[in-house]
């Protein structure tokens, strides 16, 4: 190994012999330990069990795609644009650029095109796994994170959108979010387009006209929560300076035009039917707007028929989703309970999932429009929500630790853990240096071990073992004066042959 190249970034010139590689996670990446891993795995298992019950099939694509297939990001001469982690396959002229996937939708569009003759139509698939973004990391923002998606490809009916919304509600509850702690908000881009038409920012005979303005309007509405009415209005008009002093160009709408758009964002009424009636007023004679309201109305009827009332799913014209590619219904799951933010202020937990209809992604490959709709759950945010609710990472029960009093008798100790494991009890022999017995108990403590098993020479001669109840022991240590602990032994000596039964009894009593 060439030490020349190592540690170059540290800036400090160290003597050559001392230079060692840095043991560091790359910037913006992190490691997950123990219960962090199992909590996510359990949550994904609960969610995907719901997806399975709805008839969705799993799909696992590889982490790597050609940049060409990913589509959104393309390489310039030397390196891919910001946004993805990419590299060129080899140095040959015209060699493929490869990149890590930045979401699970782009690979799905590629799969739907590649296997279009083999997949059922409609194709319902779910997928979960890490995605990568080459962005500046920040507090709590990582460059690798998990998504969990479900999509229906090839179903033009908004019944497919209604189904995804219902499934999302079921999935959130399966993950551990109580009914009443979340709400799924449904809207339709066609309604917004209808409003834009009324406002004169969309010409249905020349749909490319005003596209940039509509993009600004869309992103402004999407940031309503953060910018407030005033901020959004500024972006609809001339523009606004943000906190950092940077000026964001506005859509250049007139006051009257902006009034129409603002009316749309505030169109939510007490009930679904009232909201629909208000939206019908707003879209007036716009054909696309009317189609959107009709679709929303159909989704609402389908959900109501299945008992998904406003305690779970509501119509909310304030939800537009920032992504440009949505073409019809859009939906978003928000958690409504409050948490404290980093400054100690109460705020709603906010969005944990979102999606919508995107009818043009597969068309990129095949030239044929393929209707599609789907949702993506932000796995790490949902896990954070469960933790905030005190429901994350519960299963951290450590193993029973069999201590080593006599290293010549390792085989006996291993036989003990073998018996415990056969009975389904998590158990291990202490495999560090057994000289200092205190270290063995410290180790058991660090592992959150419920019981230490001890057998020294005396016990071996008598055919007994000692079980130390570490949970009870810790409680006694904390409340040494309390009467209730008197007479409850934190340590028992039992016949060796009773090992499994005695451990089971102590584990049961430790709860």
């Amino acid at each position: 190994m060439s030490d020349e190249n190592l540690g170059a970034k540290s800036g400090q010139k160290k003597p050559k012999a001392e230079r060692r590689p840095r043991a560091e996670t790359p910037r913006g990446f992190r490691d997950y330990f123990g219960a962090e891993v199992t909590a996510r795995r359990d949550m994904l298992a609960a969610i995907t069990a719901v997806y399975h019950r709805y008839g969705f099939d799993p799909l696992e694509t590889s982490a790597v795609e050609t940049v060409e297939a990913l589509g959104k990001f393309l390489p310039d001469v030397d390196r891919p644009n910001e946004g993805v982690f990419g590299w060129q396959e080899n140095e040959a002229e015209g060699a493929d650029w490869l990149a890590l996937r930045y979401d699970l939708t782009a690979p799905l569009a590629r799969v739907a095109a590649q296997y279009r003759n083999d997949l059922p139509t409609p194709y319902r698939r779910y997928a979960f796994g890490p995605v990568w973004r080459n962005e500046k990391p920040g507090p709590g923002r990582f460059r690798q994170f998990y998504q969990c998606d479900a999509d229906t490809i090839g179903a033009a009916s908004v019944a497919a959108d209604a189904e995804i919304c219902a499934m999302l509600a079921d999935a959130l509850e399966a993950a551990g979010i109580d009914r009443g702690d979340y709400v799924i908000k449904v809207n339709n881009r066609k309604v917004l387009n209808g409003v834009m038409e009324v406002a004169g920012v969309l010409d249905s005979f020349d749909p490319d006209k005003h596209a940039e303005e509509r993009g600004i309007v869309l992103r402004a509405i999407d940031k309503f929560d953060r910018l407030g009415t005033e901020g959004v209005r500024a972006l609809l008009g001339a523009g606004r300076k943000d906190e950092s002093g940077d000026f964001a160009k506005g859509a250049g709408l007139s006051e009257a035009q902006a009034d129409v758009v603002m009316g749309f964002t505030a169109a939510r009424r007490e009930t679904g039917p009232a909201t629909l009636a208000r939206l019908r007023e707003l879209v007036g004679h716009s054909a696309i707007g009317t189609e959107g309201v009709n679709e929303l109305s159909e989704i609402a009827a389908l959900l109501a028929a299945q008992g998904y009332g406003p305690d779970r799913i509501i119509l909310d014209p304030g939800v537009v989703r920032g992504l440009g590619y949505y073409t019809g219904p859009v939906y978003e799951a928000e958690l409504t309970f409050e948490i404290l933010d980093e400054k100690g202020r109460k705020r709603q937990f906010g969005s944990v999932a979102g999606g919508g209809r995107y009818d043009d992604l597969v068309k990129r490959f095949t030239g044929q429009a393929v209707p599609a709709t789907g949702v993506s759950i932000g796995v790490d945010r949902l896990l954070a929500a469960l933790t905030a609710k005190g429901r994350g990472a519960v299963d951290s029960a450590g193993p029973v630790v069999v201590t080593v009093m006599d290293r010549e008798r390792m085989a006996d100790y291993m036989a003990m853990v073998g018996e415990l494991r056969s009975a389904g009890i998590r158990a291990e022999v202490y495999l560090g240096n057994p000289k200092q017995f205190g270290n063995q108990l410290k180790y058991a403590d660090k592992r959150a071990s419920p019981i230490a098993v001890i057998q020294g020479g005396d016990e071996a001669a008598k055919g007994t073992i000692v079980l130390k109840d570490l949970i009870l022991g810790a409680q006694i240590a904390q409340n040494a004066t309390l009467e209730e602990w008197k007479g409850r032994p934190a340590q028992v000596e039992v016949p060796r042959t009773d090992l499994v039964a005695a451990v089971q009894k102590m584990l049961g009593g430790g709860k």
Copy 2:
């Protein structure tokens, strides 16, 4: 999107308007569908449940590491060496090179060094996930594949190695490999070093001397299965020409030296004690060799005490493992049943897992030697073995499909699937274009659906539904003349209110 850059590799100049991105998995990567995904997931769940019971904790590192931390591969001026997928963080001078991990051991070594003050000692961890190799893909060889590892860091005792071997046996059986269909072979690099010392290829006072020769010997023995006695002997001596005509340089051992080494590879005897006795003869007065034999003897005793006899774990000096970094015990799991290779010849399935003791990997970072041992299961190979045994991908039960006879009554159909799902039955409404009823049944067939539910206008008026038993229907279609099918209706009409009960009954009878 700039179409200029798309489709450049295809070579054909198409008219600009037609150029579309290719819908293709990158070369050497593949997609996994349905039961391929769940079979792997189920197998990993079974294996990691064993690891958990042994007290191992999960760890999930990110896919991306600094090349510096990965260590084995370093960037040259323009791009990282072959072997990994790598890229530079940014264009700044001295910016980090990043790469996808090529195994799960290198990230573990980094974690063990980075968190050495927080992790318990010993640290038992398991991990699974994809790894990436930038190699030339071949039939069945992919550039992304799964590994599933378990390692114990900080335990110098060979009890840790014995534990891993026992756990590997349990894990293989939990995954679905029957006892008798696998064997775990254990050896020790120190014994090989002792033999090398006897042969004069290792000088314990000058351990760097003859390092290259020993490397050639190691890799030659590791390829015994493929090269046979003659091929290995050639590599121990002057070298050999392989099938492609390339000449591989040999270790340059004399006949007498080669005899000693060949004696080692053939040292396996009928029983463990007999093998150990033979090895003691071979290592003679070599201190390192004697230490190795003693360690092997201790491992054998620990395994025997736990009941892991030669039906599961044996001593086999023929196993050396190719990787340079092993320092003590090495082990390998082989599946012993026969399969037909691509040419129709019978051959043993072969290795599905391997590992050993590597005491120097963490030292790279910290300068302090940290004892470590661990195993890696080749997940895709083990899955292939289960499939060969007819045990892979069993759970592919499709959903009950509720067909759409009248698209105005979609809400009624969705209510039906809602009831079925609430009863835990996988079910979906047909969401494609319902016009052609035949397409709906074709869809149900493609989804391996057990039952189609039908309710047209007549049934709705009567308050009934029709259930079509698709499994029975397919059987009848295949054996239309058989007497036994007479009188077994593949289709029943039941009251709408009996939907769930009737589906449950039909699902039960379909088995």
